[in-house]
Symmetry: C2
């Protein structure tokens, strides 16, 4: 290209860029954002959600608002998404808030708590029970606006090298289980380990740990745990529905045109269902393949379930005393939870229970 042509193009392009701001009320700015994901590309549902969000937002804005997603480790590590969005080094992120339990334990409510709400109950609390407002007050302290943007559904209870029948079997058990769930496990005598995704398999293979929890059949199958720790327990009582969140740097959020805010909100809400629907659609086949490959399914015993529930709520009581944010949100969350669980006991579970019992009998 000739220099003059380049300069002319420069002037034109510069002008075009300038008038992209509301010269006419109908025009929206061209934006290009970077998104840091907490998930590797191999977890194609968790990672795939960012692709879904990017495409939907681009389509809804005729390509004017683009979001380039980067997997865990490409810009920052999977557990550094909050910091990257807080500082503005990326405009947005896709992550689990309970990764940041150490910064503020109230972040757990934005993902899930052991023996807490399931996916639908969490949605009801967030959208119509005041959850979103409460969580956003916490996120604001970290210069972040947050929205629901995915859920795994109820997770499995992890992979164990030996059977776990009684509380005695948990004593001294070295298990990869992070966050608040790890704290409950510790109260039961286990030794929780914080191990990043890629290191879990070798640690379990070498016997450095005795057990590891991950997600559910679709994602667990990829890591091949069945070969080295065949006992596959359920339910994952610490994650009855783990929400994934979309973080936006607060200044970037506040500066967004109202239409872009509405589009991001609605796309994140759609993604919340898109993700759990994808897990729900895939987990049945994945579980069947896992069992065919040697995984041995085992339910946690009532002894373990009841002791774990007792310790979980004892822990919440302590945290509520120690942390103002946790205490305030816990009160709202727990009241809502008791109410919605009592409704599901009549409205939802008898239907589901009958249908599954019939299916099991055939």
């Amino acid at each position: 290209m000739k220099r003059r042509a380049l300069i002319t193009a420069a002037a034109t392009a510069g002008f075009a860029a300038m008038i992209t701001r509301p010269a006419i009320a109908q025009e929206q700015p061209a934006l290009r954002w970077r998104l840091a994901s907490s998930f590797p590309k191999g977890l194609d549902t968790l990672w795939g959600a960012t692709q879904f969000i990017s495409k939907r937002v681009a389509d809804a804005t005729d390509g004017r608002f683009r979001i380039d997603a980067f997997a865990a480790g490409e810009i920052v590590g999977g557990a550094q998404v909050l910091d990257a969005v807080q500082s503005g080094s990326v405009e947005c992120g896709h992550t689990n808030s309970n990764f940041y339990f150490g910064k503020n334990p109230a972040f757990a409510f934005d993902t899930c708590l052991p023996f807490g709400m399931n996916t639908r109950q969490q949605n009801a609390w967030m959208v119509h029970g005041g959850g979103n407002e409460l969580i956003r007050e916490v996120a604001k302290k970290f210069n972040i606006h947050t929205m629901q943007a995915g859920n795994t559904g109820a997770q499995m209870g992890g992979w164990y090298r030996k059977e776990i029948n009684t509380l005695a079997d948990l004593k001294g058990l070295k298990m990869r289980i992070p966050g608040i769930a790890g704290q409950v496990m510790a109260r039961l005598g286990a030794v929780p380990q914080q191990i990043a995704g890629g290191d879990v398999y070798p640690a379990l293979e070498r016997g450095t740990i005795d057990a590891a929890e991950w997600v559910g059949p679709v994602d667990d199958e990829k890591l091949g745990f069945a070969r080295i720790a065949k006992y596959y327990y359920y339910p994952g009582w610490w994650e009855g529905g783990a929400q994934v969140s979309f973080y936006v740097n607060l200044e970037r959020w506040n500066a967004l045109p109202p239409a872009y805010k509405a589009i991001l909100e609605t796309v994140c809400a759609e993604t919340n269902t898109w993700m759990v629907a994808k897990y729900d659609a895939g987990n049945g086949d994945a579980l069947r393949r896992l069992v065919a490959g040697g995984a041995v399914l085992r339910p946690f015993s009532n002894e373990i379930m009841e002791a774990a529930r007792k310790e979980a709520f004892a822990l919440y009581g302590e945290l509520a005393q120690q942390h103002e944010d946790f205490g305030r949100i816990y009160k709202n969350w727990n009241e809502f939870r008791e109410k919605i669980v009592s409704w599901f006991r009549i409205g939802e579970l008898p239907f589901d229970y009958f249908v599954q019992a019939q299916a099991a009998r055939r």
Copy 2:
């Protein structure tokens, strides 16, 4: 500005410009659509969803795409929404597809079938199991494009003037229960009645009918059934999760700019969760008030549940023989259903069941 600086600026601006479409392409047409709802304004969750959709779409388009919603009876009756959208007398509608079971029995799959999938399972089938594509082929024959846009969750089993313990108690029972559920009830010896919303209460009060099903606690409370038929049964085995659909006249849909299509799709998907979350958040309190006001909760007996399930699937087998569309979709739906129910039996229900059992014990 020095030339080199200008060239550098040119390169930067050029990049910005590349992602900026020509000004003219950014403008979107101003549209004003009329929406016919199947629901009266009193059902503020079902009706409220259309208000939610209108606001979101307007916000996402800076007010350029407006949808004016009209309640049942304002333009057409609640069960005439399909006809109004098909003919183009309104651009779009919000309705239950199973109202049109008489036009094509395959429409039932777009709402729910007795002993079929629950809300989350329906979402998984529609979004990731091929459901949307199959339903749209049917809707296309009626000049309609359809999208998921709400769900009531599992409904209650209705109000009865006397206790219903055995199959013998169903013989000759005159019950307001429409569509495919009514057909199953008829096979059990009941006499299903098709009665529009506003006429149900007087019919039950006068004893013209012995029982009536409606929705769930939030909506049932408004109609005051507890005063005249105090036995409130659960679960509503015919509606384990009743989907609501957004219909668009096919020519209108095809003529929409791609960005508006994306916005309508994502807003309807958000509404799908918004609605069930609102019911889930409100049903607990409504049920408590109903019971305090004299409603007597009763579970359907196993005898009735098992006989109803058997008749339901016998009916599906017959319909699959008689109707090509029903048969084709039933095969896909049933395979998906069996797979996802087997997954929920491990992944979801043991968590939910334990949590609700603990709650019931306290």
